[in-house]
Symmetry: C2
Subunit: 354 residues, 2 copies
């Protein structure tokens, strides 16, 4: 294993490039997708697939899904170098979902630059995103590590299960966004996060467990660790947005209150709607549902969240989830080196750029 | 087997309803997608998944992909009733691609009514479409026919392969649509059809062969039959649009020349661009690339196609493909009853409503 987790990045990118080269040619298309019945439009597929994909990847991202996978694989006594193509599976899937989510959410920016559909057109972006849902699964067919059939089948069935739930999560999130008056419980919010964000983390953990032939108990524990951690991070993001906004609100020219302006139903909002006096709750709903908000309105919403104790509530929930994630790991009894790496991993991810 | 192919429709729809009920509840969600970590928003998922799906299915469609699958399964000596859930796999996948393609193509109508994204919003429609890419694969995990592991793995690997190529086909098609000056060869056009339309037909054939444990030679022959037939149908559609347009052009108030108005690069257009005098070719490109066309311009484009002999050319190619499809079947030596049903099937599909 490399000295630090960040050092994996070049090797991961090289493995990704083997799956989706920056410059595609006939030889790649024939070997990866199978012989053409007639003739591929190679130049067209460069524009429709490889260009948008690398435009997104070259903007950054720590490839933490691939890194976490490699940490687990090493813990289970295998040489991570041999499993690099498998590490690309969750990473490529994740980038596919980003492209599609940005279209669905009408996002204008991604990693500080225009969202892909603003560069390539919605049709190309969507099709590229969707193509990335199936492209990495081909690794299981190519089978570079020579896995036996039962593990490859288990990997496919796991991916089917988790990718199904990913779409349930996105479906719930979109519906709440479209229907301002939808009543959401905190449990429904946590489920949305567990499905939408957690399932991709679960894929990382379960794939590592499956291909190294771990017991169902170990696979479950790692999956729960990954899901709980992902949900805790999501809540952490929501808290940070409110805290930074309260801190920044006085500063001239600084953006603040993005989540409020977007009308996002975060855990803090759901808590405040349940706990606030009904006049406050109604006012909060009104501000969140408005197409545009003044700075004063955003501040008003933020103080309703503060008054309801929603920041403390969310922080407690996030800490509780993080503690439960650690408990899941304790049950697996990982080696000291892995425990150290997972601590490094947490820091690595928190300082994130996406 | 039923008396006529159309009689399968109620049983197929019932099997589809088992996979995606019209009214979803907690019990379905927990049993199909697995226990919630916290709590599903069942009402939300009704709106985000089941409602758009059944809105589309209730508009019609002959479920011919499921029917063809059942014809093959019976030919191979199995009771088709037992394989109904598997028959739903290509059918649900197909409906998923329709929803997504309509967003990508900016379609306004589908089966005579508003495209789904015009009813539910683009975000819900897209996510529902994408969810349908993974939902039916769950049949292989549920495994109602008790298939051994090797066949389930083979089915997953086949689906990965074909769904990858489906996205290549769509990518090529979109690129040609966006870049009016892209030079396309007839072979590239046929490849686009083989990938975009043919791969879903290949899934039908290969799935039937895999789950009934046929040889690779039989699986290939059926897949080629399905692909060749699908491409021949596509060309047939393109010819019909031109012929009907030439016939209808004089009639007051009738729409004609839809493909020309949409700027579609059909096999006829590609042939005409290659074979026409350069002035005609340039004029044809100009009309296809224009945002709006007068009836006179559409007629002008249609006569360029006529003068270049493109209708005859396309008809010959379609007949040749259909003949090659029959040759593929001859190699398999199907029973008389199956041969009769495949003839019935061709008629059944040609009189289609989508």
């Amino acid at each position: 294993m490399r000295e630090t987790l960040a050092e994996w990045r070049p090797a991961i990118d090289e493995a990704i490039e083997d799956l989706v080269p920056r410059e595609i040619d006939d030889e790649y298309l024939e070997s990866f997708f199978g012989e053409a019945t007639y003739k591929y439009d190679t130049a067209g597929l460069q524009r429709a697939l490889a260009d948008p994909f690398w435009e997104l990847l070259d903007r950054g991202g720590k490839r933490w899904r691939a890194v976490l996978f490699l940490v687990f694989v090493e813990e289970f006594g295998e040489d991570p170098e041999e499993y690099l193509p498998y590490a690309c599976i969750p990473e490529i899937l994740h980038n596919g979902t980003i492209i599609v989510d940005d279209v669905e959410d009408g996002a204008t920016k991604r990693r500080g630059q225009p969202a892909l559909h603003h560069i390539y057109g919605q049709d190309i972006a969507l099709n590229a995103g969707n193509a990335l849902y199936f492209l990495p699964l081909k690794v299981l067919t190519e089978n570079p590590a020579g896995l036996p059939a039962d593990r490859r089948l288990a990997a496919h069935e796991m991916l089917t299960c988790e990718l199904n739930r990913t779409h349930l999560g996105q479906g719930m999130d979109i519906r709440w966004h479209n229907e301002g008056d939808a009543e959401i419980s905190t449990d429904e919010y946590l489920e949305m996060c567990a499905c939408k964000t957690g399932c991709l983390a679960r894929i990382v953990a379960r794939l590592a467990a499956i291909i190294t032939d771990q017991s169902a108990a170990v696979e479950d524990a790692l999956a729960n660790y990954a899901e709980l951690t992902a949900v805790a991070f999501q809540i952490g993001d929501d808290i940070l947005d409110v805290e930074n906004s309260l801190g920044r609100a006085g500063e001239f020219g600084k953006e603040f209150g993005n989540d409020v302006r977007e009308g996002k139903k975060t855990l803090l909002v759901i808590h405040a709607l349940e706990e606030s006096p009904s006049a406050d709750a109604a006012r909060l709903t009104e501000i969140l549902e408005a197409d545009e908000n003044t700075d004063e309105e955003v501040l008003e919403a933020l103080s309703i969240l503060e008054d309801a104790g929603s920041i403390e509530y969310a922080r407690e929930r996030a800490l509780d989830l993080a503690a439960r994630a650690r408990t899941e790991l304790d049950a697996v009894d990982l080696g000291d080196e892995t425990t150290r790496k997972l601590e490094e991993f947490t820091t690595f991810v928190i300082e994130r750029d996406e």
